[in-house]
C-alpha cells in the first residue's frame, strides 16, 4: 500500500480507530460497572440470607437469652465479662490476706494479653484476655496457700487461674511461735472476656 492509498484511507482509518477506542472504552467501563453491581448483589443477598436466618432463629434466640442472661449478668458482676476490674482484684487480695491471716501479699500485675488457651474454649465472637499477677507472700504452713487461694476465689473479684506456685522453706529464725515458715510465689492469670465486633445488640 503506497502513500496515496494510505492518504485515501486516512479518514476511514481514523474513524475506525475512534470507533474501536470508544467501543473498547465503553465495554470496559460497563463491564466494570457490571462486576461492581454483581459484587453488590452478592453482598446484599448474603445480608438477606443472614437476616432471614436471624428471623427464623429469633425464637431460639429468645430462649437463649432467657436461659443465659442471668448467668451472664452474674459474670458481668464478678468482672469476668467486660473491662478488667483491677481495683476489685486488689480489694480481693486484701480481703483474702485478712481472711487467711497471712503476713501480707506483694503483687505485680502485667499488661493485658490475649489468653493463650482461648482456642480450646470456643469463644465464638468473644475475645478472651488475661493479665498475669505475680504474688509473693509468706505462710505459716503450707495449708495457708490453699486457704488464701480459696479465699481469693470467694471474693468474687473475677475469674483467675493459677499457673504456678512455688513454696520455699524459710530458715528458722528462733523459737517465736507465730512466724512465717514458708515463702510462696504464685503466678495467677486474671481472665476477662469481651464481646467483639459491632454486631452486638445493645
Amino acid at each position: 500500500m503506497n502513500a496515496a492509498e494510505l492518504k485515501a484511507l486516512q479518514a476511514p482509518l481514523v474513524i475506525l480507530i475512534i470507533v474501536l477506542g470508544l467501543a473498547a472504552g465503553l465495554i470496559y467501563e460497563l463491564d466494570q460497572m457490571l462486576t461492581g453491581s454483581k459484587r453488590e448483589l452478592g453482598q446484599q443477598q448474603a445480608q438477606m440470607r443472614e437476616a432471614r436466618t436471624r428471623l427464623q432463629k429469633s425464637g431460639e434466640e429468645k430462649e437463649l437469652i432467657v436461659r443465659y442472661l442471668p448467668n451472664y449478668q452474674y459474670l458481668q458482676r464478678v468482672g469476668f465479662v467486660g473491662d478488667e476490674q483491677r481495683l476489685n482484684w486488689l480489694e480481693g487480695l486484701r480481703l483474702s490476706n485478712q481472711e487467711a491471716q497471712l503476713f501480707g501479699v506483694q503483687y505485680q500485675i502485667g499488661s493485658q494479653q490475649p489468653y493463650p488457651y482461648a482456642a480450646e474454649l470456643n469463644p465464638g465472637q468473644l475475645t478472651i484476655h488475661q493479665s498475669i499477677m505475680k504474688l509473693s507472700f509468706q505462710l505459716l504452713h503450707e495449708g495457708d496457700l490453699m486457704s488464701f487461694l480459696t479465699a481469693l476465689g470467694k471474693q468474687g473479684a473475677g475469674f483467675f487461674a493459677v499457673n504456678e506456685c512455688k513454696l520455699n522453706r524459710l530458715a528458722a529464725a528462733g523459737s517465736i511461735r507465730y512466724q512465717p515458715n514458708l515463702a510462696a510465689e504464685c503466678d495467677i492469670a486474671w481472665i476477662t472476656l469481651r464481646p467483639a465486633g459491632p454486631g452486638d445488640r445493645k
Partner: protein, 524 residues
C-alpha cells in the same frame, strides 16, 4: 446492492444510467462525438459520486479460446500476463478467464482471452470519468455481460447463439455449455425492408463460421435466443427455421424481458443498451478489461467502504454488547434493590420480634458463649491442692525426707526444661509474653520437689534408698502419671568422675539432697 453508475460505449452512442437500490434508472444517451462528450461531462458533473462500470459494444474486439498447460499461483499469473502481452500488444484493455479443463490426458487449462483492440474508442469517455474523480470499477465487453443474461435466464442449452439488435448492428454471441466462446458484431442495415431476411442469413452464416472455427460442427444442434427488446424481430424465428431445420429458435420479446429481468418498460425503451446495462448492474462479469492503474480509485473506494463497514460492524457489535451489559447491570441492580428491600423487611420483622426479648447487653450467641467459656475455664483450671495432697501422703510414709522447695505448675511446657531455662541467665522482662502453646498441646500439672534426707551421716546407700522409696510412694498415687528423680545426693553414673574421702566424720558428710519431678496424669 451498492449504487453505481453504468456507462455503455459504442461507436455510435454512449448510454449512461445510475443503478440505485437494485434498480436501473432511465438511460441518458449521448452521441459518440465531441459535443456528445461535452454533454456527457456536464451530465457527470451534475450526477452523484458513484463508481463507474463501463460496458463497450464495438466491432474492435477480439476473442481467443486457448488451452494452456495446467499451472498454479504465480506461474499461472506470469503465463497469462505473457500471453496477454503476446496477443494484445496494442491495447491495455484485455483479460483472460479460465473456463475449465480439457478432457484430454494433459488436462490443460482452457482460457478465453478477450480484448478491446481499439482503446481510442473509450479513451475520451474514460478520461471524462476520471476527471470527474469517479472510481472506475471495471471495463467489460458487452458479450461478457450477455453471459450474465444467459445465466439469469437459466438457459442450459449446450450450443447457444444469443442474437440482439444494437445501435452498432447485429450482435451474435456464441455460448458453449453456458460459457462465452466467441462474439461478433455484424453491421447490417436494419431499416431496409429485407432486414429479417438479412438477419436470418447472418445467423446461418454464423453457424458456418462457427463450424469453420471448429467451435461446433454442422451436425450439432444449435439454439438461438433472439433478444427482441423492441419487438421488431417478429418472423425472424420462422425465417431461421425455414433455412436451418436443426436450429431451435426462441424469441425473447419485450414483455418477457420485463417480466424475466424485473426491468420497467420506460427504462428498457430509454436506450438500446438499457437491457445489458441492467444485467451489468445486477452483477459485473469477471472478464474485466481495465488494467490495475485504471481501477486504482475503485480499489481505494472498496477499501474505504470496507473500513467504514468494519467501523459500522464494530460499532453495532459494541452497541449490542453494551446493551447486553446494560441489561445485566439493570437486572443486577434490580435484584440488589429487591434483596435490599427484602432484607429491610426481614430486619424490621426481626426488630419486631426482638421487642418481646428480655433486654440483653449482647447477642444471644455471645451470652451463651460467655457462660460456656466461664464453665470451661472453671473445668480446666487447677490448683496445687491435689499435688500437695499427693506429696503429703508420700511424706507420711517417709519421715526421713524433708522438703525444701515445692514448685507446682500447670502448663504445656515440660518442668525440667523450664527449670533449665530459668537457671540460664536471661534479660527477659518480669512479665514476658506467655509461652506459645503448640497446636493441640494440653496443659499438664507437674511439680518440682527439692528436699534432703535427714538425718544423714554419710550413708549414701541408705539415703538413696529413702529417696527412691519416697519417689516410689509418689508414683503409687492413682493420679500421678510420672515421677522422675532428677538429682540424687551422689551421682554414681559411670560417665562422670566421683571423688570423696572415707575419713570424713559423720558431721562432715554434707547433705543428702535430691530433686524429683512429678507429673500428674493429663485430664481426661
Amino acid at each position: 446492492m451498492a449504487d453505481k453508475l453504468l456507462v455503455s460505449i459504442s461507436a455510435l452512442q454512449v448510454s449512461v444510467a445510475s443503478w440505485r437500490g437494485g434498480r436501473l434508472g432511465a438511460c441518458t444517451v449521448f452521441e459518440n462525438s465531441e459535443p456528445g462528450l461535452e454533454s456527457f461531462k456536464g451530465h457527470l458533473e451534475r450526477g452523484p459520486n458513484l463508481p463507474a462500470y463501463v460496458m463497450v459494444d464495438a466491432v474492435e474486439e477480439d476473442y481467443r479460446f486457448e488451452s494452456l498447460p495446467h499451472s498454479f499461483g504465480s506461474d499461472r499469473t506470469e503465463m497469462i500476463t505473457r500471453k496477454l502481452k503476446q496477443h494484445y500488444r496494442s491495447t491495455p484493455y484485455c483479460s483472460a478467464r479460465m473456463q475449465g479443463r480439457d478432457p484430454g490426458k494433459r488436462r490443460d487449462d482452457r482460457y478465453l482471452f478477450c480484448a478491446l483492440t481499439n482503446p481510442e474508442l473509450i479513451s475520451g469517455w474514460l478520461q471524462a470519468i476520471v476527471q470527474r474523480e469517479l472510481a472506475v470499477a471495471g471495463i467489460y465487453l458487452l458479450p461478457t455481460v450477455s453471459a450474465m443474461l444467459v445465466e439469469k435466464l437459466k438457459l442450459k442449452q449446450t450450443n447457444l447463439l444469443v442474437v440482439s439488435i444494437h445501435g452498432a448492428g447485429l450482435r451474435l454471441s456464441f455460448f458453449r455449455e453456458q460459457q462465452l466462446r466467441i462474439s461478433r458484431l455484424a453491421r447490417i442495415d436494419g431499416s431496409a425492408g429485407e432486414a429479417i431476411k438479412n438477419y436470418a442469413e447472418e445467423i446461418s452464416n454464423t453457424r458456418l463460421y462457427l463450424h469453420a472455427l471448429r467451435v461446433m460442427t454442422l451436425d450439432e444442434h444449435l439454439s438461438v435466443l433472439i433478444v427482441d427488446r423492441a419487438d421488431t424481430l417478429g418472423g425472424l424465428e420462422q425465417a431461421i427455421g425455414r433455412d436451418n431445420p436443426n436450429i431451435e429458435c426462441r424469441r425473447l420479446g419485450k414483455n418477457e424481458i420485463i417480466s424475466s429481468l424485473d426491468i420497467t418498460a420506460p427504462v428498457l425503451d430509454s436506450s438500446s443498451d438499457a437491457l445489458y446495462l441492467h444485467v451489468l448492474g445486477l452483477r459485473a462479469p469477471a472478464n474485466n478489461l481495465a488494467p490495475a492503474n485504471v481501477t486504482l480509485g475503485f480499489r481505494q473506494h472498496l477499501l474505504r467502504r470496507a473500513t467504514y463497514a468494519a467501523s459500522a460492524v464494530i460499532a453495532l457489535t459494541a452497541l449490542a454488547w453494551c446493551a447486553a451489559l446494560l441489561y445485566q447491570i439493570f437486572d443486577s441492580r434490580a435484584a440488589t434493590e429487591s434483596a435490599r428491600r427484602q432484607t429491610g423487611e426481614l430486619q424490621a420483622r426481626y426488630q419486631e420480634a426482638t421487642r418481646q426479648f428480655p433486654a440483653a447487653p449482647t447477642t444471644a450467641e455471645n451470652l451463651r458463649h460467655a457462660v460456656d467459656v466461664s464453665q470451661r475455664i472453671g473445668a480446666t483450671t487447677r490448683t496445687p491442692e491435689i499435688m500437695m495432697g499427693v506429696v503429703g501422703h508420700a511424706l507420711e510414709s517417709n519421715p526421713a525426707v524433708v522438703l525444701k522447695t515445692f514448685d507446682w505448675r500447670y502448663d504445656t511446657t515440660e518442668f525440667a526444661a523450664a527449670r533449665e531455662a530459668a537457671a540460664a541467665p536471661t534479660t527477659a522482662p518480669v512479665f514476658a509474653p506467655p509461652p506459645v502453646t503448640q497446636a493441640g498441646a494440653k496443659r499438664k500439672e507437674s511439680a518440682l520437689i527439692e528436699g534432703e534426707v535427714r538425718p544423714f551421716r554419710g550413708d549414701y546407700r541408705a539415703a538413696i534408698d529413702s529417696i527412691n522409696k519416697f519417689a516410689d510412694a509418689l508414683s503409687q498415687q492413682p493420679n500421678v502419671g510420672e515421677v522422675k528423680v532428677a538429682k540424687l545426693p551422689l551421682n554414681i553414673s559411670p560417665g562422670l568422675t566421683l571423688s570423696g574421702s572415707t575419713t570424713d566424720t559423720r558431721d562432715q558428710a554434707g547433705k543428702a539432697e535430691f530433686v524429683i519431678v512429678v507429673q500428674m496424669k493429663p485430664p481426661a
